[in-house]
Every structure is written in structure tokens, then in C-alpha cells.
Symmetry: C2
Subunit: 657 residues, 2 copies
């Protein structure tokens, strides 16, 4: 899919959509009257309502339906926590400064842009058609200076392509080498760039009045707060496993060079789930059976390695049983993520799950799939679903000593039979003096196999020799008055383990933006007009009330309707401006309001109203009671517009333009 | 009211309540396994659900019912904005360091604590009973060293009391003077304190990679984002006034020494409304008529100055017409705030509105009332309702030049008849040279009265003399070839004005905590057990489902009930643990779950269920359909428990302990 199209098959013109979204105040650059600040956006009333509806749906779909334990943790985070989690040392991008202009670039993005531009120039020179990858094109806003049409050596083309495939994995030294090797210069000045340096993406701050330097950060994810509360949550859950915690809140990343509108911002709303599961027994999920026949579009690692982007469509049952998706729990969540996105109105043909490449994942991750949505910026990661293994709980446990573990009584006590070693410490000390500890450590480290052999030897000859690096000759003799080796049985009644974590992590802003692209289309007519076809459940406002004119007779009807609709939980707005009904509806099509109710002179006579549906612009006419019942059923998803049209008389009276 | 009591008249023991709230994970200190960080708390599942319900109710009560324009602005805020708003220079507290221990104190709190302790010691010495102000007692966790029981001079007592009355208004120099004058030392060491210095309460940070020093802050309030978007919001509202914007989100204050649990924290959820109103015409409100007979408990400025804390109960109609509350819009919001708090379950006898003292308000504020809730910490400010006048829009307009104004066509064009002055600039320059500008300014500054007089004079004698300070002798003669003064008419069709802002500002965390105190009580019995009597609308979970035992026959009923309740929007939890039904209900009384449904062997026979109400512990028995209908009506507030008891048969079968 090279180009984004609307649901009516028109090419999607991002500039037109953005103009609608800004004019209707879905979002707007923050601090615009002060010149703005890159990577920061405010949501206006419709964006805010859309966001609240999506969050509400998320809470119902995940937290309530799956009985998750929602927590709300602070964004301010002391340094120690993020040091342990690895963020202080590793949560960085490489940046490069152009000394002439002072411009700062993300080093990997710059290398990528230049090499891609050269490859494109090469293809042009060879007369090949270029298949545009919109995602990458979008990054290249700046004019790259050295892209004259020029043929490259075949070997160099291959080298460039290999470099690009691995671009996410280079460190600072490697990026510096690439910049030098490929003679990459400041794109606007042509100057030699300063060497890349690491830039930590967390915002630093000082907590409390006594700190004399930054001692904390704004969290880069909501996950850590959930891990730190693991013990309390397990207790709250009455020690019962598995369970999931969930959190909805803002996180922060100090992007080096934010672009791409709402897709790469410095402050963003996340919704994250940490599902804690026993690592033993294959991470089964009790409800996997219910979802196993659901089909997903899966772009696996192997396909990507082969240079293709064609996903396979298969059931999650097959994907898990073949080992493509690592385990049931991960698979279950992939389905639930897809269900959620489709509920919001995401276009299923623009949704795929892409598996992370081995070198793309954190070292501790077992498997990771991103739900990606196709937009005019290309395929965009909107939800990550990773198996974080036991990493986080383990590092925090090691650092603090807090028992971030599950202790459960074994159904069957575990009987363990092992060779155990007893040392006669009273004799060991005087005999080996300063080396006594080293000898003891060497004995403790003996494997079960060795112990078995040594036990026989000790029995036979009354003494053994063990390796003791750094002590005497490197080998030490022990006689049976100092050491005893025996096979013994012991019984363990309690099992203690660190749970693994499956983490579905949602970028709400990215989902909102991608959704707006998916539901946008242009209604052809006298004037082409934008429509945002949000499903009723997420639409910012559900019903627009439109009196035919400002006539006083309409007012009591409006007031009554507003109150009645609000009472049944249906948000509504009145537009009693002097614009024509057609213009007022057009304005609301841009706002994505799915239904409109008109109050006209017939209403004053017999109380009947007309109900209009946004996408078809068809209208029906019925009594107030019937219209309210229909609207409620439509908004709750219990009826479709087709149902309503079948049972209510159509209306084609008003001149809408 | 000297002491806080529960609704059943028991003294409220904060330690008991806090232990319930922490054990049930309503909230918990953040980062506890790392030793914690003062002033930061996480909400666990019930706290999180309570918060979400309160926010949802707030959104319905204000944003939807009043058709407000909700916005979601970023927390990260560039320095320039907060410089203009005055926060960079003035949003500070005074702190004092003990050089011996390194402890840091908030200077005003320290002075307050010491003087109060001395006054208390004096009263003890005089043998008077001391009426304890819990709020202030709570601040004194540290042992104050110099509070031996000692009688003070009568004059000194009065001086201390006067100082305490004004404690909120002292600057650094004055605090330093008080510390010296009253010989106040480090409370734990007795050491001489370092002089107070200002500590800005905003968290600083660096936005973007190129900043070499902090260039931004975390917002201390959500208000500024709303002001900056004023123009866009007015446009969105189709230029129609008045209107309100609203915002729900976290704000941050780097408290010097946070204590008092959830009441003084460094990161907190706010909900703020900025109602923009025309300053002309008395700030009337179109719906004031609907609320004018509502009674409020008002503690006015005059009463406070007289040293009393006894509020008056009067209707808001009377309060506004007598001028006590400045205007209708402010009055309207006080009523709406009270309505909201009562909906949440706040105890009306523990709610008052306190007017700010003249010196307590920002210099630009016209009037300000705080909704205060009574708790074991004393009266706590939970909602502020201020008339911020045109201050914020004006300063941002002046700084940026953005037209943060309303321009409206006058219904009647305004005809203005004024004396206007024309100067012959070509002659003025050569004549007055370097003084020409000063002369021109002096002419421009002439009042209408003077202009009228001078016009006559000029007519009569052909020349006039005006005052020109700093030019020549201080008076300058102008002849009629240089100056002309005429009465002229002009017509203004457009009126341009800067709206005033009425700002109701809610501290959600403070409201949650106070509410939990208001609804907490102890059920006497074999074991005294805590109950949180949240109204159904805000209760974290609405219904607990309790199977009599783990018997397999109960499972399908539980599953069906869960699904049916969820479908009608009623959140529910299952407790199928092995504890007795009584214990399980006790646990949920602590969680504030208003209703319980028991599934027993009768259910398996005839499908009937029992429904239990938390506060009365009474039960009824009916069919599944009837129970679900009743629960839905109870949760939606359409029926009370009394209604249900009247029409359904009581049930007293199970042994609940």
C-alpha cells in the first residue's frame, strides 16, 4: 500500500485533513501566541471529547472487562528508580550538531535521510520507478543538499541498503563512522558535523528544596510505577495470579527534533497494561480459547528479513501453536488490541501487527509485536505488545531487597534429592587461614555432577582435591575430617517465583491521529466538504440539535430535547446560529457528529422531529419519544442506522443547502 | 466545631481511617520500596476508580450541563509564559535552613508553629482550656523545643495573635525580622537559622536538546493554557459570549516541606473552569434566577476580621443583592460548586464558603471565595472561586500583541462627541525642536474639561498656554496656526473589550481525601468495622457478587450476572474467596461498595437472588431481572434503597458471620 486513501477511495490529502482538524480545534500547537514550542500540542473541545471517549472505551474494554487493577502513579520520579530500570544510562538518542548553523539532528535519522535520498537519486538515474515509502518520505522535510541525480556502484547500493536495514541498531561510534565514511555533511550548510553524542530523552528536574542538582525525572512510561507497586497489588488481589495492572496517564520524552504533528510529541497520553503471569507452564491464558479463531494480519520477523512487507493473515490459534507468536497470553492480547482498535473505527485494511526484529527488542524481551496503523506518514506504531520477561521486577528486587515475587503453596510438595556438602568450619579456619573463605566458596560452587564424583572419591580414599583458583598451587586437598558429601532429600512446600510481564502499551495520541486519518473523507458536491465518520461511541458529540431558524417557538422544544437526551446519557450541542441548516450540518460533519435532529414548524404543530445520519445524510421523521429511543440505541450500538431507516418513515422535506 | 466526628457521631480517628485507606489501597506513598519521596502518592485500584468517577461527575455537572469548552493543554510550559503570568517572579514560598541539621523549613509555617506553641503554653500556665485548632495542630509534627509551660505578658500575647492573623502576608524580610525579634531557633537543634530565602515552587526543566539551562516549567495550574487559547476558543464558540473553558489535568508545586498526606502534595489533579464574561453590566448570569434561593454557609471577610469563624447561612440571591458576593456569575458558581460537592457525598454541615481577606487575594482579584471542607486537619480549602478580572488576558495580550479581546458589533452604534485637538506638526518641529515630542504629549494628555476651556480661550485670544513640565519654564504658549481644538462627533460600530474571568478551581485530591473522611464511620459489633458510605454514583465498585461458596453450581450464575450488569453499565466485582460471606461483605464495606448480591442454593433452584445494602446491611430477595433493574435504578439515582425495600420482600436467611 503505497499511498493512503479514504474509505471512498480518494487519495487522502493530509494538508486538507490537517486544516479541518485545526480549524475545528481538534488540536492546535501549544503556546502559539508565544511562537509555539515544537512537539507540544493542546487538544481543543472536540479533540478533548474524542480523547475522553477513547479513554473511556479503553477502560471498559480492558480494565473493567478483564478485571484489571488500575493505578494512578506520579509522573515525577526520583533518579534511583530510573537508574535501576536502565533509563538513566540507556534511554537516549544520538544527536549531531551542525557547528555552522547550530542546528541539531538526530544522527540516525540524518544518515537514513541522506542514504535514502542518494538511493532515490540512483534509481532516478537508472530510470527506475521509485516506490515511495511515505513514512520515510515524511521525515525528509529539509532539503538534502547532496541529492543530485547520480548513479551509484551496485556494491554501494547494496551497502546502503544493508545499512538502512540496520539503522535502528547503531551506537554513537558507529554512527560517527557512517557519517565519515559516507561523507555526510550538514544538510543546510554542507559543513562538517560535530561527532554524535548521546542525549538522554528524559526531562530532568529537582524534587524538593534541598537538592542542589537534578534528582528526578518525568517518567518516560507509566510502567515503572506499576512494577514498584507489584507487592501491594498482589496483596490487593488476595495473592491470586495471574492478574494485570493498568494505568492511563501522561508520559514525557524530550525528542531531539520532533516533527510529524501528533505522532512524535514531547508529552503524550499513554495507556499501559502490565499483565503478570507465571513463567512456568507456557504462559497460558484462560480465555485464549474464546479468541483463538480470530484472524490477524501478522508481519513476522522472517518476512521482514527477506525484505518483504507482506503480512500473513492467520488465526491467533495457528500463530501461537506454530510458535510464531511466543505464547497464549501475548496472543490473547494481540486479539484484544485488534478488537479495541476496530471498536474505535480503525480501518482493518490499515492495521497490521509487526514483529520486532531480534536486534530491535530490549535484550530481556522474549517477543514483541507492534500494532501499526497505516497513515499518510506510512505505517505507524500505535500499540506495542511486548513480553518483558521478569526483567523489571528482578532489577527492582535486587536493588531494594523488596520481595517482588509470588510465593505460593505447592499443590504437591516438591521433593528434591541433592548432594549436599558440610564443612567443618572450626578446622577449616586454623588450617587455611586467610584462604579459608576462598576454599569455602570453591566448595559451594561445586556442581551436582562433581559432588557425586567427589563423594565416591572421599569414600574410597578419605580425601579429595578440588580446584581453588588463587589458593596455593590452584588445587587444594581436603580430608574427611573437614568435609562431608552426602545425598539428601528435602521437601519444598512453597514455590517462589518472579512473574513475567506481558505489556500492551498504547500511545493514545498516535491512535487518535491515525483514527482521524482513517475516518476522514470528502463528500463531493457543490463544494467538497470534509466528513469525519467516527463511530457514535467515540464521536466527540453524538447529536446536533438544529432549529430551522431563530424563531421563538422552537426554543422550548430545544430545551426539552437537550434535557431528555442528557438524561439518557447522550451528549448533544445546539446550533441555533443563523447559518443555513445545510451549512450547520456541514460544520458538524467536519466535527464528526453522527446524528442531527431538526426542529421545524411541523415540530411545533405535532411534536415530530427529523433525525439525520451523518454519512448517508438520509433523514427519517418520527415522534420525539421514538427519535430519542432510536438515538439512544444508535449511540449504545444496539441498533444500526439501517435498522432505523427500515422502521421509520424517510423524510426529504427541508432544503438543506 | 472543634473536633471531627463521623455521621454516627463517633469521634473520627484519623489513624484508623488512614490504616483502612492504605490497607485497601485507596492510596499509597509513591516509591515506597525505594524509601518513598515526600509529597508524592499513588492511587491504587479503589482510589483510582473513585477519582475516575468524581472526574466523570465533574465533567457531566460542569462541562456537559453548562456546555463548556474542554481543553487539554500541555503541562510542560516554556518560561516566557510563566514570566508574563507572574509565576516566575512571585510563585514562591520563603524557606529557612537550619545550618546545624541541614533541615529546611517553610519560614511562615515555622513562625506560626512556634508562636502557637508559646500561646498554648501560656494558656496552660494560666490554667485556661485550649480550644484546639486541629488544622494547625496537624502541622506541628515536629517537637517544638521552646514550649515549656510559661506565662507570657498580656501585651505579647496580643502581639503574637496579631502576627498570626497576618502570617500569610509577610515577605522574606518581615519573616527574618519576626524570627529575630521572637528569638525563633531551629526546632530540633536550637541553632540560629539562616535568613529566609525565596524558593520558587515550580519544577524547572529543559525542553529540547539545545537548551543549556532550564527553559521551562511544569505548570502550577491549568489556567494559563486556557488563557493562551482564548482567541481560538472564542472563534470555536462562534464569537458568542459569555462562555467557559474547562480543563482537567495534573499540576505541580514543589512544596518546601509537604505533610498532611493527600492534602499537600507535589503533583495533583486539578479541574479548572475559566468563565469569560463581559465586565460591563454587572457580570450577570443567565441562569442565576434558577439558583437564587439556594442557601449557602458563608463566612465573610468582616466576620473573620472580627476574629469569629461563625458563618452566616443565606440565599445566594440575598448575598449578591447585598453586595457580599460581588456578582451573579460568581454567585452562580458558588451554588454549582455546592451542588457538585453534595452530589459526591460531602457532609453539608462540614462545608462552608470562606471569603478571602483583602490582603489574601491577588492584587487583581475582585472577589474570592473558597469552598472549605472540615476534616481532622481543620477546614481545608478544596475549591477556590475567584474573580481574576481581566488580568491574565491583559498581560498576555500586552506581551504578545495577540488580540485576546472580544470585538462585537454594537446593537446601537455609539455616538461619541468629544473635543479633539489637531496639531500642525510641520510647524511644531522647527519651532520646538527637541521639545516637540514633549509638547505633543502634553497636548494629547489634556482632559476634555481643559480642552473645552482652551477651545474658548483659543477662539477669543488666538493663543493658549499649556503646562509642559520639563520644557522651558514649564508652560508653553501655542498660537492658532499650530493648534486647533474642535468638538466633533464620531460613531463607533464595534465594541472591543477584554473579558473578565471567573475561575472555579478544584483540587481533586483534596476533595477525595475530605470526602473519604466525611463518609467514613465505624460499624459497632463483635469487631468494630470501618465503612465508607460513598453514594453509588462515586463508589469505586457498585456491586459485589458473592457466591455462598466455591460450589461449581454457582459459577454460571456469576458469569451471567457479571455480563448483564456490565451491559447496563454497572461495575461489579466477584469475591469467590473462601472467607465467610460476612467477612467478604466487611471487606467491601471498607471499599465502599454500596450493594452486594448473594448467589446461594435457592438461586440454583429458582434463579432468585438477594440484594444487600451496605449502610443498613438489610437484604431483599427477588428474581434476577428485578434485582438487576433495581440495582441499575439505585446506581443511576432514580430510586433510593427505601423505595426498593418497600416493594421487595425482605430477606434474613443467611448467617453472615
Amino acid at each position: 500500500m503505497a499511498e493512503s486513501t479514504t474509505k471512498t477511495g480518494q487519495p487522502l490529502d493530509r494538508a486538507v485533513l490537517e486544516s479541518v482538524l485545526r480549524r475545528r480545534l481538534f488540536y492546535t500547537p501549544s503556546f502559539e501566541i508565544y511562537g509555539g514550542e515544537r512537539g507540544l500540542f493542546d487538544y481543543g473541545p472536540p479533540g478533548c471529547a474524542l480523547q475522553a471517549n477513547v479513554v473511556d472505551l479503553w477502560r471498559k474494554h480492558f480494565v473493567l472487562e478483564e478485571d484489571m487493577l488500575e493505578v494512578d502513579c506520579t509522573m515525577l520520579t526520583p533518579e534511583a528508580i530510573l537508574k535501576t530500570s536502565g533509563h538513566v544510562d540507556k534511554f537516549a538518542d544520538w544527536m549531531c550538531k551542525d557547528p555552522k548553523s547550530g542546528e541539531i539532528f538526530r544522527a540516525d535519522h540524518l544518515v537514513e535521510q541522506v542514504l535514502e535520498a542518494r538511493l532515490k537519486a540512483d534509481k532516478d538515474a537508472r530510470g527506475q520507478t521509485v516506490e515511495v515509502d511515505e513514512a520515510k518520505e515524511a521525515k525528509k522535510k529539509k532539503k538534502i543538499k547532496d541529492t543530485k541525480i547520480e548513479k551509484l556502484d551496485d556494491a554501494l547500493v547494496q551497502e546502503y541498503e544493508e545499512t538502512l536495514a540496520k539503522i535502528d541498531n547503531y551506537g554513537g561510534d558507529e554512527l560517527a563512522e557512517l557519517i565519515k565514511k559516507y561523507n555526510i555533511k550538514g544538510p543546510t550548510t554542507g559543513a562538517e558535523l560535530e561527532p554524535p553524542r548521546a542525549f538522554n530523552l528524559m526531562f530532568q528536574t529537582q524534587i524538593g528544596p534541598s537538592a542542589d542538582k537534578p534528582n528526578g525525572y518525568l517518567r518516560p512510561e507509566t510502567a515503572q510505577g506499576q512494577f514498584l507497586n507489584f507487592q501491594k497489588l498482589l496483596e490487593f488481589n488476595q495473592q491470586s495470579m495471574p492478574f494485570a495492572s493498568a494505568s492511563i496517564g501522561k508520559s514525557f520524552r524530550n525528542e531531539i527534533s520532533p516533527r510529524s504533528g501528533l505522532l512524535r510529541v514531547r508529552e503524550f497520553l499513554m495507556a499501559e497494561i502490565e499483565h503478570f503471569v507465571d513463567p512456568e507452564g507456557g504462559k497460558k491464558h484462560p480465555r485464549f480459547e474464546d479468541v483463538k479463531d480470530t484472524k490477524l494480519s501478522l508481519l513476522n520477523r522472517k518476512t521482514q528479513l527477506a525484505g518483504s512487507t507482506k503480512p500473513d493473515t492467520l488465526t491467533i490459534g495457528d500463530a501461537v501453536s506454530s510458535g510464531l507468536v511466543d505464547n497464549e497470553t501475548l496472543g490473547y492480547f494481540l486479539v484484544r488490541i485488534q478488537d479495541f482498535l476496530l471498536k474505535l473505527g480503525v480501518d482493518q485494511t490499515k492495521l497490521r501487527f509487526r514483529q520486532h526484529m531480534a536486534n530491535e527488542m530490549a535484550h530481556y524481551a522474549a517477543d514483541c509485536w507492534d500494532a501499526e496503523l497505516f497513515t499518510t506518514y506510512g505505517w505507524i506504531e500505535c500499540v506495542g505488545c511486548a513480553d518483558r520477561s521478569a526483567y523489571d521486577l528482578t532489577v527492582h528486587k535486587e536493588k531494594t531487597g523488596a520481595p517482588l515475587v509470588v510465593r505460593e503453596t505447592r499443590a504437591q510438595p516438591l521433593i528434591i534429592e541433592e548432594f549436599e556438602v558440610d564443612l567443618e568450619r572450626k578446622k577449616l579456619g586454623p588450617k587455611f587461614r586467610k584462604d579459608a573463605k576462598a576454599v569455602e566458596a570453591a566448595v559451594d560452587a561445586l556442581s551436582q555432577d562433581l559432588r557425586e564424583k567427589l563423594a565416591l572419591e572421599l569414600e574410597k580414599s578419605g580425601k579429595i582435591e578440588i580446584e581453588t583458583p588463587g589458593v596455593g598451587s590452584g588445587r587444594t586437598e581436603l580430608e574427611k575430617d573437614v568435609i562431608k558429601i552426602e545425598k539428601r532429600k528435602r521437601t519444598e512446600y512453597i514455590r517462589e517465583y518472579t512473574p513475567n510481564v506481558i505489556e500492551p502499551s498504547f500511545g493514545i495520541g498516535r491512535i487518535l491521529y491515525s483514527l482521524m486519518e482513517h475516518v476522514f473523507w470528502i463528500r463531493e458536491g457543490d463544494a467538497a466538504r470534509g466528513v469525519l465518520s467516527f463511530p457514535p461511541a467515540v464521536a466527540p458529540t453524538k447529536v446536533l440539535l438544529v432549529p430551522l431558524s431563530g424563531h421563538g417557538d422552537f426554543k422550548p422544544f430545544i430545551k426539552k430535547l437537550t434535557t431528555r437526551l442528557r438524561r439518557v446519557g447522550v451528549s448533544n450541542k445546539v446550533d441555533d446560529s443563523s447559518a443555513s441548516i445545510g451549512k450547520r450540518y456541514a460544520r458538524n460533519d467536519e466535527l464528526g457528529t453522527p446524528f442531527g435532529i431538526t426542529i421545524d414548524f411541523q415540530t411545533v404543530k405535532d411534536g415530530s422531529l427529523t433525525l439525520r445520519e451523518r454519512d448517508s445524510t438520509k433523514q427519517v421523521r418520527a415522534s420525539e419519544d421514538d427519535i430519542i429511543t432510536a438515538v439512544k440505541a444508535l449511540v449504545d450500538g444496539e441498533e444500526t442506522w439501517e435498522d432505523v431507516v427500515k422502521r421509520m418513515p424517510a423524510f426529504e422535506g427541508q432544503d438543506l443547502e
